[in-house]
């Protein structure tokens, strides 16, 4: 347990928190970078997934992408893009986007797909335009599953952003790798604990948002819908 105490000591030492490259800056960097990737994945994946779910065209694309992405080794993707694009944030951004896109796409698609056919038919029958149907019916009812996809993507991105420090100078992976290289277990373990904590906080945050969405989609029997989860 000595190791853990050392790590905690490293974490609690205010000298390690300050300045460029300090823990505080690294946390912001990590979160900001992850948020940018997830936002980009949402900007592409949600419209595409909703369009596929709404029209029913392109289902097989979703299946191929999601199962393919699961098999693709993250580190391989990071290093090959790192070699191709050089040192900098482009390679990890692209690699993380490739990882984040399938769960977002699958969540949006599965969410819209899961809306009862009768509800969609009835909405058309009473004179909703396709756009009103998507906005007023399909999106709110799909929200819990859709958010499940975003949650999977966010977790994966936060997790892999740690690994991104292997090819670029960014995020909480940095002190972890530095500790690894210099045999400083306290630094390595402290950074690891911090990333784990960050991931747990994000996970819990998403759980709250998702159960709120489930309450809106199924106001009478929340929050069981919040448990929907797209495994990535």
């Amino acid at each position: 347990m000595n190791l853990v105490l050392d790590a905690l000591a490293w974490l609690l030492d205010s000298a390690n928190w300050d300045g460029r490259g300090g823990i505080g800056a690294r946390i912001l960097e990590h979160l900001g970078f992850s948020a940018a990737v997830v936002a980009a994945a949402c900007a592409i994946g949600i419209p595409a997934g909703v369009a596929i779910g709404h029209s029913g065209r392109g289902r097989s694309l979703v299946i191929v992408l999601t199962s393919g992405a699961r098999a693709l080794p993250t580190l391989g993707l990071l290093t090959i893009l790192g070699l191709a694009l050089g040192i900098g944030l482009d390679a990890p951004f692209l690699a993380l986007l490739v990882l984040a896109l399938p769960p977002v796409l699958a969540g949006a698609y599965a969410g819209v797909e899961s809306v009862a056919r009768e509800t969609v038919g009835a909405s058309r029958a009473i004179g909703m335009t396709e756009w009103q149907l998507v906005r007023g019916v399909e999106l709110p009812l799909a929200a819990p599953v859709l958010l499940g996809g975003v949650r999977s993507a966010a977790l994966q991105v936060i997790s892999t952003a740690t690994l991104a420090a292997y090819v670029a100078d960014t995020g909480l992976g940095r002190p972890l790798f530095e500790g690894l290289k210099t045999q400083r277990y306290d630094m390595m373990l402290g950074a690891s604990l911090l990333v784990a904590l960050l991931a747990l906080v994000v996970e819990l945050g998403f759980q709250l948002v998702q159960s709120a969405a489930a309450r809106r989609a199924e106001p009478h029997r929340a929050p069981s819908g919040a448990r929907e989860r797209i495994s990535a």
Binding site: A116, E118, T119, G121, A122, S123, R124, A125, I126, G127, M128, T129, Q132, G136, V137, P140, L141, R216, A217, E218, P219, H220, R221
Partner: protein, 277 residues
């Protein structure tokens, strides 16, 4: 008035849902399309609001071909009642009823206020307005469905197996309420059902359909029951079964109507035209 003029619906692959169908539904009358599944009755209903486009032929409302109308506007001008209501699960009862007026641009506040009145009209306590559909019984959901269809005050109501998802007692109650509502409102109602008793209970005119929406017989319920056109119609309406062959038995001067199994179904009242013997 709704007019089907030689409509035909053929799906890619060659399935013919409607082989060729013509019918006039006069304004302010209730017409039922009855048939088993696969008779094409729902397809016919959906042609009226352009949920289904006929392969050939035309559907006209008051002499206007529906194909010349914008489908969304057309659908908003027609009330549509579906089995189990087809309500939006994430919106309250009042918001469900107010859906179409709000889509058409009415303020939500006004539309909700109107919705409360409509709920009362279909026999629902306005206190249910803020509940969600899943918190209501099947019969209550069905009433909300009717209220929603009436919300834009349409001239035409289309009903697709409107009371198919509720138990027989509630169904009869809903049918009686719809009759009362229709006596007051005088809408043009076209509805489809596989339940011949429901058709007889509600419709001014009943159209019995075979496969491919071929008309086997049309007429008032009395006409059809009195003289089924052929064996198909006879079997469909159950002519000749114990339930449909009633006789009169006298008991202490009262005339009791019994069915083919001698089970009593009611008491015959003296009729002014007929006169007591």
């Amino acid at each position: 008035m709704i007019e089907f003029d030689a409509v035909r619906k053929e799906y890619p692959g060659g399935t013919v849902a409607v082989a060729g169908f013509s019918l006039r539904v006069p304004s302010h009358s209730v017409v039922a399309l009855v048939g088993s599944s696969g008779s094409g009755k729902t397809t016919l209903l959906r042609m009226v609001n352009r949920m289904v486009e006929p392969t050939s032929g035309a559907v006209r409302i008051d002499d206007v071909d529906v194909r010349s109308l914008d489908p969304v506007g057309l659908r908003r001008s027609i009330g549509y009642v579906l089995q189990a209501g087809g309500l939006l699960p994430h919106r309250t009862v009042a918001d469900n009823v107010a859906t179409v007026p709000v889509l058409a641009g009415r303020s939500r506040r006004e539309a909700r206020a109107d919705a409360l009145g409509l709920l009362e009209r279909v026999g629902l306590d306005p206190a249910l307005a803020d509940r969600y559909p899943a918190q209501l019984s099947g019969g209550q959901q069905q009433r909300v469905g009717v209220a929603r269809a009436l919300a834009a005050d349409p001239d035409i109501l289309l009903m697709d197996e409107p009371f198919g998802a509720v138990d027989p007692i509630v169904r009869e109650q809903l049918q009686a309420e719809l009759r009362a509502l229709q006596a007051e409102l005088g809408k043009t109602i076209l509805f489809v059902t596989h339940d011949v008793d429901e058709a007889f209970a509600l419709a001014d005119e009943v159209v019995v359909l075979r496969a491919g929406a071929e008309i086997a017989q049309r007429g008032t319920p009395t006409e059809i029951l009195a003289a089924p056109a052929d064996d198909f119609v006879a079997a469909f309406v159950g002519a000749g079964t114990a339930r449909r062959t009633l006789r009169i038995r006298e008991l202490d001067g009262r005339r009791v109507v019994v069915d083919g199994d001698d089970r009593p179904t009611g008491v015959l009242e003296a009729d002014a035209r007929e006169g007591a013997p």
